[in-house]
């Protein structure tokens, strides 16, 4: 069996970020919101590893604090999307018929809108805040999960073990969630990992547009937005959040591929 490089690299990248995020709860080199005008735009140094921004705030501390937002938004958005998506996909796939028709046409409608546009619309209506950002992103991710879950249930409901379970007189709910769901989990986990990447990116995008996390709390997208005015004066300022977004998106995508390879012997 070939070495699963995707899994190692992806997992490694995410692990580093996860550690940085966990550390930031108890320790950051500086207060992420403390201003120090005298020291603004200092390039990376031993004191400020990633330099300082236009208010003299330490970029490393803000990046660390910002990773909390990114992970929080990613986790909540994917969890909600995954749970709801799996549920409705399961019912649609297992029960079939008109229930399937109605549910899938509804998710089709949802999917017909580009994700970011739907999130923008949601936030315009309900106002920008971290909570609304998470809700908007979970709403966007529901169709993805429900489709995967539905196709899995359609596939497995014809298997003999399901028929056997039905013959034993088990309840529909029990069959769906105890017998079929474990078999469908694998592609869903892969999708969740990739969904995490999209959520991080979308949060950055919304914050960049000023619709996500509100200042002065750090978020990678918001930092990118504020940094762009100083792109020539302080290139390290744009570079840091840019690279962090890149690493986390790349990491979660590789991780997703790695998990798929791990769980699906046909490909490796």
């Amino acid at each position: 069996m070939k070495k699963n490089l995707n899994l190692y690299i992806g997992g490694g990248l995410i692990l580093i970020q996860l550690l940085a995020m966990l550390v930031s709860f108890v320790y950051t080199p500086f207060d992420p919101n403390e201003m120090n005008i005298q020291e603004r735009f200092s390039p990376p140094s031993w004191n400020h590893w990633l330099g300082t921004d236009n208010f003299g705030r330490d970029i490393l501390s803000r990046i660390m604090k910002g990773s909390q937002t990114a992970f929080l938004v990613g986790t909540i958005a994917v969890s909600i999307g995954l749970t709801i998506g799996t549920f409705i996909g399961a019912f649609a796939g297992y029960l079939g018929g008109w229930i399937d028709e109605i549910i899938m046409r509804l998710t089709d409608t949802l999917q017909a809108f580009p994700g970011i546009l739907l999130a923008l619309m949601f936030i315009t209506v309900f106002g920008p805040s971290t909570v609304n950002t998470m809700l908007a992103l979970s709403l966007v991710s529901i169709p993805v999960f429900s489709r995967i879950s539905r196709s899995g249930f359609i596939q497995y409901k014809q298997f003999e073990f399901v028929e056997a379970a039905r013959a034993m007189g088990l309840s529909t709910i029990r069959i769906m969630f105890l017998h079929i769901l474990p078999n469908v989990m694998s592609p869903l986990i892969v999708a969740a990992s990739m969904g995490f990447a999209s959520a991080v990116l979308a949060e950055a995008g919304l914050s960049y547009l000023g619709l996500g996390v509100q200042p002065p709390d750090p978020s990678w997208g918001r930092m990118l937005n504020e940094a762009q005015n100083y792109i020539f004066k302080a290139p390290w300022y744009t570079l840091s959040p840019g690279i962090m977004i890149t690493i986390s998106v790349l990491g979660f995508n590789l991780l997703g591929d790695g998990i798929r390879d791990l769980r699906d012997p046909r490909i490796t």
């Binding site: 201003m35 200042p215 004066k233 840019g242």
Partner: protein, 513 residues
Amino acid sequence: MLKSSKGVMLILILVLSLTVFVGCGQRSDKQVVSEDSTSQIKSGGNVVVVVPQDPDYLDPHLAAAAGTQEMMFNVFEGLVKPDNQGHIHPAVASDYTVSEDGLVYTFTLRKGIKFHNGNLVTVDDVKYSLERLMGVETGEPLAASFTVIDNIETPDQQTVVITLKEFDASFLANLTVAILPEDNADHNLNPIGTGPFKFIEYVPEQRVVIEKFADYWKEGVPYVDKVEFRIIPDNEAALLSFKSGAIDIYPRIANERLEELGSEFHYVQGMQNMVQLMTMNIAHKPFDDIRVRRAINYAIDVDEIIEAVAFGLGTKLGSNMSPVMPQYYQEGLESTYNLNIERAKELLTEAGYEDGFKTVISVPANYQFHVDTAQVIASQLQKVGIDVDIELVEWGVWLDRIYRGRDYEMTIIGFTGKLDPHKILGRFTSDYDANFLNYNNSEYDELIKQATKTVDLEQRAELYRRAQQILTEDAAAVYIMDPNFAVAMKQNIQGYIIYPLDVLDMSTIYFTE
């Protein structure tokens, strides 16, 4: 899934290429400040100036956009014309007198002054222009400020006598409005004025072109032959175009971008007659307490804001007036509330807020300048125990909820300047319909009312100066700064004069060497 991960990769590539691009950016530490060079003036040459938007109307009586006025200032003139100190000088008129009671204005027409079409300006043209603004024919005045005119008489071919219904201190400033030829069929299609440049063409979303008017009444100006206002709505594209040399003059360059300019450019900067201030909703607890407002004033370090947000390029203010208006400006107020944390804490304790309080500062999200200011203020107020949340609101919401609805706690905004002090200070009178500060002081109201009725200029100025003192004493707001604005241009262009108004005066610039 495949599709969306493709999208993800695309965005990834974009982010990556952005970061690479940043890596390649070069820092330029050269600080280029313009010096008064007295090198010889070379007449002629074409200039390209970048502007962010299309004109709304070419007809000067209909145009309302500041972006239109700053271009057309070169094409049109009124009976009088402002200079860059805010003083008013005769233009189409060569001289004027005002009667003792301030009701009768007598203008003498400038001898031999011509329109761009070659015709002499007559008293009938003046009468026509003013009556057009009053809406004599249509019944709909084009400008409300001209309804104060009772009648216009032309006793001879050189004299125009304007009689007002009542005294109006700002009337003369209003007469800077354009004088137009009566026989022009369509002022919007074919604008004709008396300014130093004549209008040549307007291509929507591309350019407005004006050309030197050889018969201009003032000898010697303008120096350049042709000016093209190139319309580029995107700031970044405009700046790149400027740096590449395709554009000669870039007005309103952001302060943080000045360092990027190489030695082939220079810039001039000046105050823009704006008052950036943080208002506190006085009808709202705890800001109804003057001690709290004063404490906030003491806790905020304005110098630090100027340094942090405007890179030091701003003038500290102490009241609602910029020093660019020397006639009316009350000196010395800016140091009334110098940073004093101890005093701020004392005042808060006296007011019963020894543990501070929580509040929200709402800022229009489209003004990064105000958003940055809010961040600095939030961190400064933290030091006296005031916990500030920042709320970004859209411009539409700001106008609706804060400006008109007065539903807010604190906000930051810039009041753009006018030549007329009444328009600047009248915002704080209790009966002003957009007094969103909810400021209410009967002494202040009385002063402002008295000033509008005072004919003597110096007495009026004295009243306005006293009004500024009251605004400071009452800590009606936190007055922050008049941010400088800079105009960048190529090294071989000189003579640019900055106005505290929406004006891009092209008549004084010239090429050197």
